[in-house]
């Protein structure tokens, strides 16, 4: 063979082999062990949509789904005793709340929203058209016990707010322990009307719903929860995701009369994109890894300076979630995200050589002549912007800037330069210094301007919003909080303003 052919053939072969090696990732092979059947405790009222969806799921994935039907309360008792099974699909959120307070429930994937309505027999023989009609002396109603049921509790609160409770209370003939008992009473004709979920009405062909605007704000949720003793969470969550997917399970619920939530788009193995400020990486990386494992998903994480991340977002990138270095780097892209939750904060510190040889105690000390100081660049980073704001507020900007030898786009460069001994002090976040605890000395700055707050937000247009909301729950967990605190952050967890 002539050398030319040898080179061509050899290099092409090498390209093919290398490409094959790149895509052959031994870690990504699906494990066969995951084909065990799933055991789902399912409220009887949800039987028809869930059965349809479960059959479809079995066809697609080959995993069999065993459904155990029963009343939600009964199922809850069963599973608490049996302590086995994977998922619990309750008729309303009160049972999920009960399961959670019993410590048997982990994640919940919302499926549908229920609104309280007035249930009357089909044809509405007593001509009940509004809440006012329930106050008529000739009308008798059944009511779900406000102490025991979610519907009773939320509707009583709503009626008290609207001022109708006092007039309706005398018309209550009987308090019932579950919402289905109320529906049964109306169906049998023992009462003229009852207040129940619209989804419950949809399960009774004999009933008809009368809409009451006063009750609209008191919604309840149908959701499927993963049980804490489930030993195949990735498989369980996969079925739950299928059930809660806007293009898979949810249409079946909508056909059954539920007003469904805005679910994620179904993917066998979802891939999501998480943007995160570099400073947050150490605090979240382990949480991300555990989340990937538990959910059976891939989180593509992009760590960078927040200036660069927001520039990418403004250039059209749409991450599924964004964990910013500071609220100031969330507000300028806020329109692309849902309301942000503030998870942590970190204070700015003066970082010095071990033992603080120059005796630097305050910001004013940094203005001492002859010091070599490093700060972050005001335009390029959140830290730099905060630094400038702080120095301006303290009227120290020009004096300290006279000592500034270097301005960097990121804090890590400052820490590393300080470590190599080329600077006397740098202004960084406490979280930047967590990796060098014991190697460098940190002096905390008490000023209110010296605080950076890290918010997390889910992308407005994300097709994986539910998934990323579950990730937020993981970020809020005690284990995650501990990782934040170990990484030099101060825990915060402030919900978004309504």
């Amino acid at each position: 063979m002539n050398p030319a052919r040898k080179i061509v053939a050899g290099s092409l072969l090498a390209i093919v082999v290398l490409t094959a090696l790149l895509f052959w990732n031994p870690r990504n092979r699906p494990s066969e062990a995951a084909r065990r059947p799933l055991l789902v405790y399912c409220a009887a009222g949800l039987k028809s949509p869930v059965e349809t969806v479960a059959r479809e799921y079995e066809q697609i994935t080959g995993v069999s789904v065993q459904l155990q039907f029963g009343g939600s309360g009964l199922l809850l008792n069963n599973l608490r005793v049996a302590r086995r099974g994977d998922l619990f699909l309750a008729a309303d959120s009160s049972f999920l709340d009960a399961a959670r307070s019993n410590g048997v429930l982990a994640e919940v994937i919302p499926l549908a929203r229920m609104t309280p309505v007035i249930a009357v027999p089909r044809g509405n023989p007593r001509q009940i058209t509004s809440l006012r009609d329930l106050e008529r002396p000739d009308v008798q109603i059944a009511y779900a016990n406000p102490e025991a049921t979610a519907i009773g509790r939320v509707t009583r609160q709503a009626l008290e707010r609207s001022g109708d409770w006092a007039a309706i209370q005398p018309r209550i003939k009987v308090l019932k322990p579950t919402v289905n008992d109320v529906a049964n009473d109306v169906k049998l004709g023992t009462v003229d009307a009852g207040i129940i979920w619209d989804a419950t009405v949809a399960q009774y062909p004999e009933l008809e719903a009368v809409h009451a605007p006063q009750l609209d704000g008191s919604v309840g949720d149908v959701g499927i929860g993963v049980l804490t003793f489930c030993d195949q969470p990735a498989q369980a969550l996969k079925f739950a995701r299928f059930l809660g997917a806007r293009d898979r399970g949810l249409p079946a619920f909508a056909r059954a009369g539920f007003s469904v939530v805005e679910g994620d788009v179904w993917k066998e193995r979802p891939e999501v994109v998480l943007y995160s400020g570099g400073v947050n990486r150490v605090a979240i990386e382990e949480t991300v890894r555990l989340f990937e494992q538990r959910e059976g998903v891939t989180v593509n994480r992009i760590y960078n300076g927040c200036g660069i991340l927001t520039a990418q977002i403004r250039a059209g990138q749409r991450p599924d979630a964004y964990f910013a270095c500071d609220v100031s780097f969330m507000t300028n892209v806020a329109s692309h995200f849902r309301p942000a939750r503030e998870l942590a904060d970190t204070r700015m510190v003066i970082l010095t050589a071990p033992g603080n040889p120059k005796g630097l105690r305050s910001l004013a000390d940094l203005a001492r002549p002859g010091l070599a100081v490093g700060v972050a660049n005001e335009q390029q980073s959140a830290l730099g912007a905060l630094t400038a704001r702080l120095l301006r507020a303290e009227a120290l900007l020009s004096n300290v800037m006279a000592n500034v030898r270097v301005q960097t786009p990121t804090a890590d460069l400052l820490v590393n330069q300080l470590r190599t001994g080329s600077l006397d002090a740098v202004l960084v976040y406490a979280a930047n210094a967590s990796g060098v605890k014991g190697v460098l000395d940190a002096v905390e700055l008490p000023q209110p301007q010296a605080l950076a707050v890290q918010p997390y937000a889910v992308g407005r247009s994300s097709e994986n919003a539910q998934l990323m909301t579950r990730f937020l729950e993981d970020l809020r967990s005690p284990a995650s909080r501990q990782r934040f605190e170990q990484s030099g952050f101060h825990w915060r967890d402030v919900p978004p303003a309504p």
Partner: protein
């Protein structure tokens, strides 16, 4: 009288002076050359003081790092080969052909060298958001996946390979090629049998340069590929991420692994490399 004639003496002095000046010249050059080598070696030694065998061992123990090593080596080699396949035709055509707009093409080829790395990453990201980019993504996921690593490396590495090969082909006189053509070779035969063997040293240099550039590349990768563990994390991003939290020891440990890998591969290519493919020593 057998005393040496003045003429002979002068010739001897000349020779001595010459030898003396040769020695001075070589010593001067050796000192200059050695100073750079010394600088390189001292930085490595200084690095060693910033880490410990424990850190190196810890780095090698971690499955993430082992994956990053594997991905780095595979992607760099692939990038280097792809770069050569593209750079050889570009450099050859640019060296041999005259065409309108050649100056512009020349300038365009320098763009990846001139652009800040982050901008290259951002531009790739934007490109794959356009309708044609999205169409490609439907078939092969690129953004934030392994192909994005190769593409980001290729963008920059190829430009360096083109520069090197351009100089190589420019320096090879077209005479041999023309002789081959007059002896009945086709253009392609002349290229494969005459030009390429003559350019083998340049091709080798271009290949190693592309490989090394790809290994060190991280700006575009960070933007275009992310740093997802077990997926798109390469050694250079590991170093960057460890540095970004002030973990100098780990960053230096991984850097030393990179140096070791690079030296090993470059030595292997220099000693084995193309001569086996061409059947003759360089």
């Amino acid at each position: 009288m057998t005393s040496p004639s003045p003429a002979h003496d002068e010739r001897g002095n000349d020779a001595r002076r010459l030898r003396h000046s040769d020695r001075t010249f070589l010593i001067c050059f050796s000192v200059l050359a050695g100073s750079y080598l010394l600088l390189l070696v001292s930085t490595l030694v200084a690095d060693l003081f910033y880490t410990s065998p424990g850190h190196l061992w810890h780095a090698l123990q971690s499955a993430e790092i082992r994956y990053a090593i594997r991905l780095s080596l595979l992607s760099c080699t692939l990038t280097a080969l792809l770069s050569l396949w593209v750079a050889v035709p570009i450099a050859y055509l640019m060296a041999r052909l005259k065409f309108p707009g050649k100056g512009l093409a020349d300038a365009l080829l320098d763009i990846p060298i001139v652009l800040p790395p982050l901008v290259i990453g951002l531009s790739l990201l934007i490109l794959f958001q356009t309708p044609p980019g999205r169409a490609v993504e439907r078939w092969i996921p690129v953004t934030y996946a392994v192909p994005s690593v190769i593409l980001a490396q290729f963008m920059v590495a190829c430009a360096f390979a083109v520069r090197t090969l351009r100089a190589t082909f420019d320096q090879i006189s077209p005479r041999h090629e023309q002789v081959a053509l007059t002896l009945g070779c086709s253009r392609s035969q002349a290229f494969w049998m005459v030009v390429l063997p003559e350019a083998r040293r340049g091709v080798l240099t271009a290949g190693t340069l592309a490989w090394a550039r790809a290994l060190g590349e991280f700006g575009p990768i960070l933007v275009f590929s992310g740093a997802t563990r077990f997926k798109t994390e390469v050694l250079s991003t590991t170093v960057f991420l460890e540095l970004s939290v002030g973990n100098l020891e780990a960053a230096v440990a991984v850097s030393l692994l990179m140096v070791a890998a690079a030296v090993a591969v470059l030595l292997l290519i220099r000693t084995q490399g193309l001569d086996s493919a061409l059947g003759r020593p360089l």
